[in-house]
Symmetry: C2
Subunit: 192 residues, 2 copies
């Protein structure tokens, strides 16, 4: 259901073709809910079949061909609202990084060090991505957000912007905590 | 592979029956890699078939019946070592909490507030669990850890303890970051 909700949320920014949706997805919501193009296209067709999206042909190129443009229907908006309102089921911990860390006595110190360095590199990349998104959202230069904001008045637009910022600040907070933890672990390894 | 690795790691603490393994799992490694009993028992049998565990019947009760006791084989120890040494594949972000947060304009402020409160409650529970584990590990009163430490000399035991602590400190760091983030979001909601 999350990919479906992510696509509904994306397309509420304004009607878009499947190609546009996949491209915009990768540049916005795909940063917090990753999906490949090969997951996105079939899901759009299923969402149309389920009445959450409507379609119309739009001209494409100069040879009289058309592409399918998707718009979120009233049912689609209702489904998005239901999803945003419903409580999440929190799952119990299942973190491969913590699991491996708990048993590092089964490898040598150099390998253990490398694991923590890779953890820092991964979360540094995530942190950088999130900081770039925060900058584009704050300056309102993000293309999908700009399009979305056209349909809101000033006070509403401020709320819309704030929720996007909250999401990416959460990504930053988590990745920063992971980096700090891995650096602390590297220090402990050194002392052992 | 993670459940298999978690079970191998657990049973290196010393031979145990399937029932014992499931009980000890829930009280130790299951806190960082959750699995249900109905996942654990079939996995133990598959691990035996794959040569990672050996079995022998041990007396059980007073009626001459027996239970199967599992021991990690040399192949099992090698598999555990390989898993601990191999790099992790980091997956791209897919966090339902961030995804929902990014689109909270689709619900009312009271519901948004409730979502963040539930997030705080969930992570407070995780934090408490991890702090309890840290206390038991530090005082070396944790029954599975005590059994494990019998097979190590003092210097090695210190490393074994330190890796368990690192893992749970990571759980704490993550949950504390989530709590802080959700509290900041509640403050922002208030101001909107």
């Amino acid at each position: 259901m999350s990919l479906r909700s992510a696509l509904l949320a994306l397309i509420t920014a304004g009607p878009m073709t499947g190609y546009d949706a996949a491209k915009r997805f990768a540049g916005s919501v795909g940063n917090i809910w990753y999906a490949s193009d090969s997951q996105i296209y079939p899901e759009l067709r299923k969402m149309e079949a389920d009445g959450l999206l409507s379609t119309r042909p739009v001209p494409w190129g100069s040879k009289g061909t058309t592409k399918t443009e998707y718009t979120v229907t009233e049912d689609g908006k209702a489904a998005l609202g239901d999803w945003v309102a419903s409580p999440l089921t929190y799952t119990l911990e299942r973190d491969p990084v913590r699991l491996r860390t708990a048993y590092l006595e089964w490898t040598d110190p150099a390998t253990a060090r490398q694991h923590f360095q890779e953890h820092i590199e991964h979360h540094s990349r995530v942190l950088q991505m999130a900081e770039e998104q925060i900058e584009e959202i704050t300056r309102r230069t993000h293309p999908t957000l700009r399009r979305r904001l056209e349909t809101y008045d000033d006070a509403e637009a401020r709320r819309v912007v704030e929720f996007k910022l909250m999401a990416y600040r959460g990504v930053c907070a988590r990745s920063q905590a992971e980096i700090d933890w891995a650096e602390e672990c590297l220090g402990t390894l050194q002392a052992l």
